[in-house]
């Protein structure tokens, strides 16, 4: 039996049944983690941000409206916001600690994805990894991915194509 809960409001259609938070968290945890893993390229950071994403989603779960989009889309938007906040904070920190910023190179942690694919992914920009994660791994359709990213559908499609092409080239180079 599917677990559901209902939010009673003055709007009749909003009283529609929807899945429980626990059920959504169970179903979407891997997807959100995968997305953040690709976006950040850092496994431990992705774990932290995934936890943060679900904590925030837990706090504002009452505001989730299934009519506006799937739970996966909603969670990806929260995850993206959390990741961008992290990037901003990191940038500020780097500016403060210029010494570290000048020495800072690629992360020394193990790559998010092992092997040639992981190395190639690391050479993509976060924006390229993000679109790959949303479209290929999370299998969001074009319009939904565009909404999460805040860009047009055409831009989304172009970005995906370029990212995949570049990834393929990088892997080919790695093999050669």
């Amino acid at each position: 039996m599917k677990a559901v809960n209902a939010v009673t409001t003055t709007w009749p259609r909003l009283a529609a049944e929807r899945p429980t938070f626990a059920a959504v968290a169970e179903a979407e945890l891997d997807a959100v983690h995968r997305y953040l893993l690709f976006l950040t390229g850092d496994r431990s950071l992705a774990e932290d941000l995934t936890g943060e994403t679900f904590e925030k989603a837990f706090r504002i779960w009452r505001r989730f409206d299934p009519r506006r989009g799937s739970a996966r889309t909603w969670l990806c938007q929260i995850a993206r916001s959390a990741a961008l906040d992290h990037f901003r904070a990191e940038e500020r920190r780097r500016r403060r600690e210029e010494r570290y910023s000048s020495d800072r190179g690629p992360t020394e942690d193990a790559p998010a994805v092992p092997g040639e694919l992981g190395e190639a992914l690391e050479r993509l920009s976060p924006a390229e990894r993000e679109i790959v994660a949303l479209r290929v791994l999370l299998e969001l359709d074009g319009p939904t991915a565009a909404r999460v990213l805040g860009i047009s559908r055409t831009a989304c499609s172009t970005r995906l194509s370029r990212a995949l092409k570049r990834l393929e080239e990088l892997m080919r180079d790695a093999r050669d």
């Binding site: 809960n5 909003l14 968290a25 995934t50 961008l84 499609s157």
Partner: protein, 363 residues
């Protein structure tokens, strides 16, 4: 360039398969952490409820609803306002209206007000009497009543009004003959302090077709009369004192006695004039004409019918509402423009910042 899922699945089939096979599942520690969150139990707050409101749809729905409500109010107002019967007066004669706020600056110069066909509340003229200065007020009103029965009743009512205010009816003349409109002419004397009240109450007897009012300031007239009386009294006193002198010659005494007699006659006349002036300042003249005749303008207007008046009232209401809306829009538009500029600017800035943050490619 691939545009659909199928396209990139086919074009980058091997790569996509590799990506999907990559070990990216969430670790058990993270899963346990998320499971530990459980289920939110707090009831939804107002903010939660507001977040669920589909604003765009609400605005799209609210706009026509507001418009419909405005139109309904206009229609109701038009229908209600058009049902005023004969109290909805219409101008008959094209007399201009002058309504001076104060008494005239030059004593003895009167003010005149003329008005046509107004309801009692909006059309009652003010005499300016009862403000400390003696004035004489002349007013005339022509009022339409429904029929001959109403004519008799309203005539009686007018007399009662005047008497209740301490005045009296100087004359009444009522004419009712078959086939002709009934007329009643009344000359009323109303204490000047109550003339405004009297006019107000008289105007409620029917539809005011025409009214005029003139008031004359009597202050300087009275002052002049008092000065002349005082001078005459002094003159009389001086003559009387001179006449007590026994050394006066006969011819001088005779001349003084003629002067004394003339001064006394002048004083008596002046006192009489003064009393008349004071009476004029005490009572105002109101000429009231009651008629059953329908005024030409009113008849024309009435022929338009209630529907026409309703449409006119509704249109006036909508025009007023439109004017208010336009005013508000003009007043608020700078703020709206600033708000919109800020909104679009901040959105563009945020988007650029996000692009910059996500564009960095590791070396």
């Amino acid at each position: 360039m691939p545009a659909t899922d199928t396209d990139f699945d086919r074009e980058f089939a091997e790569l996509v398969a590799q990506l999907r096979e990559a070990p990216t599942a969430a670790p058990d520690t993270l899963r346990a952490r998320v499971r530990a969150l459980g289920e939110p139990e707090a009831p939804p707050t107002l903010r939660d409820r507001l977040a669920l409101v589909p604003w765009r749809r609400t605005v799209l729905l609210a706009a026509p609803v507001c418009l419909a409500a405005l139109l309904s109010v206009a229609v109701v107002r038009g229908v209600v306002s058009s049902g005023g019967g004969n109290r909805a007066a219409t101008p008959v004669f094209g007399a201009a209206r002058t309504t001076p706020e104060h008494m005239p600056p030059f004593p003895g110069v009167g003010v005149q007000q003329q008005d046509t066909a107004k309801t009692p509340q909006e059309g009652a003229l003010s005499s300016g009497a009862g403000k400390g200065r003696p004035v004489h007020v002349d007013a005339s009103m022509r009022i339409r009543v429904a029929d001959l029965d109403a004519l008799t009743d309203r005539t009686r009512e007018a007399m009662q009004i005047v008497r209740s205010l301490g005045g009296y009816v100087a004359s009444v003349q009522q004419r009712t003959s078959a086939g002709k409109p009934g007329e009643a002419d009344l000359v009323l004397k109303v204490p000047v302090g109550h003339v405004d009240t009297a006019l107000m109450r008289l105007s409620s007897l029917g539809t005011v077709l025409d009214q005029s009012l003139s008031s004359v300031d009597l202050q300087q007239t009275l002052d002049q009369q008092r000065r002349r009386i005082h001078n005459l009294e002094l003159q009389i006193a001086r003559i009387e004192q001179t006449l007590r002198d026994p050394s006066l010659t006969a011819d001088v005494r005779l001349r003084l006695q003629f002067q004394l007699q003339a001064a006394r006659q002048s004083l008596a006349r002046l006192n009489g004039t003064n009393r008349t002036t004071l009476r004029e300042a005490a009572l105002s003249d109101v000429s009231l004409a009651l008629t059953t005749q329908r005024a030409a303008g009113a008849a024309t207007k009435d022929r338009q019918g209630r529907a026409g008046r309703a449409v006119h009232e509704a249109a006036s209401f909508l025009a007023a509402a439109g004017a208010v809306a336009l005013f508000v829009l003009i007043a608020v538009s700078p703020l709206l423009l600033i708000g919109a500029a800020w909104l679009f600017g901040s959105r563009a800035y945020r988007r650029r910042e996000e692009q910059r943050l996500l564009a960095a490619t590791p070396e």
